[in-house]
Subunit: 209 residues, 2 copies
């Protein structure tokens, strides 16, 4: 009797040990699931970060195009009087000077932001570089948009003039200058579009999936 | 010998049962902690959402100010010839027309976005309305900035003129018109600043704390 009791208690002891062995195994599955979820989110966010870097390099290219085209936009007309030579360059219009300065600033920012974008690829779950990028991208978006829009207003005026204010169109004479400045403005607007996409990507990456 | 072995095994059996009883209790604490964390984040995000609503209503006010000032900016000079009366209104300059149309659009968007901002207050942890707001806010930021910047370029030109392009300043004659349009532009830039803050707030709210 005693021996059987002993064996039964030993059996219970073993079974409870087995249960005890199973008990820590049951709560274990969730951590790997969470880890898998994080890995999936990490992979997703890494893809977003790589796309962000590609957009950023494209934006650098379009910003260089905008600044270079506008800075080199000048035209000297083939006829001149004794006292005056007809010449147009970007610094004749203060708005175009603002364009060159503003877009150079945006260009510099975009180049400097590339390392932060690379950090986002290396550490896809880090929030700090992404927050920094979305805040500074928004400010630079405003700068890029204002230079582009102000120059668009001047390019439009140079093309069409304004009879109400007696401002005559100058593009009839300075055709090349007007074409170059228009091209620079278009390039600036492409930079603006790329910056919008970058902000949206950062917002998607910040979102918890 | 056997009896002592039996008692020891019984002791082990009981102690293992006690451990088994403790085992499910140990994994329990984490869920309440996570729930507390979520509650704190929810309260934090609710505060951000309320601040977003306040900024949005302020932006509606400044946008109304910008549109109303520009739309009512007109001036008729007290002298006139037999064939012509000197009059200036916003639709004499296409850029100012763009300003009125664009800022009206921004104003309409801001009014329509208020319900989504209220949804964010009611459900601070919902990501969908916040994502919608950050994306549409960014697009409207670009529209508001471009109208404001383009009009700034024209206001600058109206004030200072451009001797290189033979564009004369018209603000010597139309002083009231120029003051009103300048005020409208300033109001538009305040709207832009408020939109920037709203985007930053949305980014902070989307961030996991």
């Amino acid at each position: 009797m005693e021996k059987t009791e002993a064996t039964t208690t030993i059996d219970i002891g073993e079974s409870s040990k087995e249960r005890k062995g199973k008990a820590p195994l049951l709560p274990n599955p969730p951590p790997p699931l969470v880890a898998n979820g994080k890995a999936t989110t990490g992979g997703y966010k890494k893809g977003v970060a790589i796309f962000d870097l590609i957009l950023r390099i494209s934006a650098v290219a379009t910003a260089i195009g905008a600044v270079a085209t506008m800075a080199n936009a000048e035209e000297t007309l083939p006829f001149f009087t004794q006292f005056f030579q007809f010449q147009a360059s970007y610094d004749d219009l203060p708005t175009f000077t603002f364009f060159v300065v503003g877009m150079s600033f945006v260009l510099g920012y975009l180049v400097l932001s590339i390392p932060f974008s690379i950090v986002s690829i290396a550490k896809p779950l880090a929030k700090a570089p992404r927050m920094l990028l979305i805040v500074s991208d928004t400010i630079m978006l405003v700068l890029a948009t204002s230079t582009a829009a102000a120059s668009t207003a001047m390019v439009y005026l140079a093309h069409n003039g304004n009879p109400n204010a007696n401002w005559l169109a100058i593009c009839n004479q300075f055709t090349d200058f007007c074409q170059q400045s228009s091209g620079a403005v278009v390039s600036a607007f492409i930079t603006v579009a790329l910056l919008i996409f970058m902000i949206m990507l950062s917002a998607i990456a910040l979102r918890r999936i």
